[in-house]
């Protein structure tokens, strides 16, 4: 079954990784960090840009009019300020709003300058604290009689490679069963920073922080068991980082030496060719 172009002798096969289109990772260019401050700044910038555009069109009209008068041609039409089209969809973007919830105001009052930002969006409360004071904030929301968030529902992180000054946001979703309320605490951390673990306060965080280490490569200080959880211990890279490709890393080397007839090899070559991977061994020079 072996064909001429398939080598029979065993040898190291080189994956031509660059040839695979899926290996080309398109890095994000924006920093989609939900924040009231950023939102307000963007809105203000948009208003200014729109006004500048309008002024420019007015000025263009004046020059065109003067030119037309000088040449004795009919005057051009004056510009009309564009009116935004009414939106007929059942969709209304929930814009971030200043915090009015008593929990957020209480947090800001107690923690003072350790709180970086509080806001509400889509009915969810967000409180961003300084990265060094996350443990203090967690202890406060758990033990304060007015807050009483006794359960850590979720903890996860997001990679922002395009951001300046930080690389990850780590979010803690807390639930108060007694008061039926939810709160999100957030910290922004740079690459290499190790936040304090939440395990002494919320034992749930054990596996969640292991998952964050496994998927995003953020280590937590004083964590009792900082090992990988979903991937094997010897895995390279962290899959949920934005630079991690969707194909390629971790492909298993098939031992084709057992494949006497060459059938497996041919199938693998065909499949790899369809995916744009060149499995051919390098030519001897």
């Amino acid at each position: 079954m072996a064909t001429d172009d398939v080598p029979n002798e065993a040898g190291p096969y080189v994956y031509d990784i660059k040839a695979a289109p899926n290996r080309q990772v398109e890095m994000p260019k924006t920093v989609p960090l939900p924040s009231l401050k950023i939102y307000l700044a963007e809105q203000a910038a948009a208003v200014v840009a729109e006004e500048a555009k309008w002024q420019k069109s007015l000025a263009d009209f004046e020059t065109a009019k003067a030119k037309a008068e000088a040449e004795g041609k009919p005057a051009p039409k004056p510009p009309v300020r564009p009116v935004p089209k009414p939106d007929t969809n059942d969709m209304k973007f929930p814009a971030p709003a200043p915090a009015t919830d008593p929990d957020l105001l209480h947090l800001q009052e107690v923690l003072g300058p350790k709180v970086e930002e509080i806001f509400q969006q889509a009915g969810e409360l967000t409180c961003q604290v300084k990265k060094e004071s996350i443990l203090e904030a967690l202890a406060l929301v758990r033990d304060d009689a007015a807050l009483g968030y006794e359960m850590l529902a979720d903890e996860t992180a997001t990679h922002y490679p395009a951001a300046q000054g930080f690389a990850f946001s780590v979010v803690y979703h807390l639930t108060s069963i007694r008061r039926s309320k939810r709160l999100r605490l957030r910290i922004l951390i740079p690459e290499g920073f190790e936040p304090e673990t939440a395990v002494p306060l919320y034992p749930t965080a054990n596996w969640l922080e292991r998952e964050i280490w496994d998927m995003l490569g953020i280590r937590f200080q004083h964590h009792p068991d900082m090992t990988r959880i979903l991937c094997p211990e010897d895995w390279e890279g962290h899959a949920l980082r934005k630079e991690y490709p969707t194909l390629g890393l971790g492909q298993r080397d098939i031992d084709f030496r057992e494949d006497r007839s060459g059938v497996l090899m041919r199938i693998a070559m065909e499949k790899a060719g369809n995916m744009g991977i060149n499995l051919n061994p390098p030519r001897a020079e």
Binding site: D90, M91, A153, T156, R182, T204
Partner: protein
């Protein structure tokens, strides 16, 4: 020669009663479990990474493959999380149909739990009875969306189609006989002496431990905490439904069995209300062809049959894909409490405790 050193054994990953590929490293002193360490990740497919490279419409397909015994509940969580991200209002008729299908899914999931849990402990018969009713539910899913397990039942903004003709008849036939079926399961198990011996006092998890470990769902409610997201943070049409949250104070495997059976009765009640009060109107919201996100983040919790299923989504301005997607899988968090529940008990009770947690490794490993 009498040896008294502790023995390490691996239970799994290929053990029939581990409901997937779960591996438990156990350290035993005779028959008593001294230490337990769950090893997971054998079914890891990187669903979060995949969904970040898919559009909001395509992502729902992957939620079917996480908890494959309750695909509709997973679909509902995804659809609602995306709708929350975009601020979409869903028509009321669609909300009712979603609620009804979600409750059918809860029944199907609880039936498969009861079947496998009883099978693990040694009661073979229950399996044959519960799969009869599950079949009827899957037939309804098939009539509604064409698939039995991987449903992808909903669309962002509502439903693709209204209920098919004949669906109501199927549903009413099912409703008429289902309560008797639950009574039938109860005659097999509730007063069964072997069942009671194998479950009462086994796999204890007290309320304060459960809350500290983040355990939700029937396991938490069987410890006496009436926390149900359908009541605490109502979604879909649950705010308009009249139902109770069953709880038990005992916090053992038998209590969880009773809580789940009581939940099935409540689900039946909710479906009755949905069928009776189905409002008229459209089933799909008016949306643009392509959904482009704004910068926003949402965490949307729903009450999956296993517990709190939370979807965390981050939207990027102008993008059709989620920038970040994370699943708070109920099984992942609940399984973390397993060592606490079985340390100090017998090896045979490990099987009963895994069964009572109702783990599905597809959603734990994602």
């Amino acid at each position: 020669m009498f040896k008294n050193e502790e023995m390490e054994i691996n239970m799994g990953p290929q053990h029939p009663s581990t409901h997937g590929v779960l591996r438990l490293k156990l350290r035993l002193d005779g028959e008593v479990v001294k230490h337990c360490r769950p090893v997971i990740g054998y079914l890891h497919r990187g669903v979060e990474k995949i969904c970040e490279n898919k559009t909001f419409f395509q992502g729902q397909v992957w939620t079917d493959r996480m908890d494959y015994t309750s695909a509709v509940a997973n679909n509902l969580g995804w659809a609602e999380a995306v709708e929350k991200l975009f601020g979409i209002t869903v028509p009321r008729r669609a909300q009712y149909i979603r609620t009804m299908l979600n409750e059918y899914n809860r029944l199907a999931s609880h039936l498969i739990w009861l079947a496998t849990h009883a099978l693990d402990i040694g009661a073979m018969t229950v399996f044959l009875y519960t799969f009869r009713e599950r079949e009827a539910i899957l037939d309804m899913f098939e009539a509604f969306c064409g698939a039995r397990l991987t449903t992808t039942a909903f669309r962002i903004g509502g439903l693709r189609e209204d209920l098919p003709p004949g669906f109501e008849k199927m549903a009413r036939t099912f409703q008429a006989r289902f309560l008797d079926c639950i009574d039938e399961y109860e005659t097999l198990l509730t007063e069964n002496r072997i069942w009671k011996k194998r479950t009462i006092g086994v796999g204890m998890l007290k309320a304060e431990d459960a809350i500290a470990m983040g355990v939700t769902g029937p396991v938490l409610r069987a410890a006496g905490v009436p926390y149900d997201i359908r009541k605490a943070f109502p979604y879909a049409a649950y705010a308009e439904m009249d139902f109770e949250v069953p709880t038990r104070p005992e916090a053992d495997t038998y209590a969880r069995y009773l809580v789940r059976l009581a939940e099935m009765r409540q689900s039946h009640r909710i479906i009755d209300q949905c069928l009776g009060g189905l409002p008229e109107g459209p089933v799909m919201a008016k949306l643009p062809k392509i959904l482009r996100a704004e910068v926003n983040e949402v965490y949307h919790p729903t009450e999956c049959p296993k517990g709190e299923l939370g979807y965390y989504l981050v939207g990027e301005k102008g993008s059709t894909n989620p920038y970040r997607f994370h699943v708070r899988a109920p099984g992942f968090i609940n399984l973390q409490a397993l060592p606490m529940m079985i340390e100090g008990s017998l090896v045979a009770d490990v099987i009963a405790t895994i069964g009572t947690l109702d783990v599905v490794l597809g959603e734990i490993d994602r």
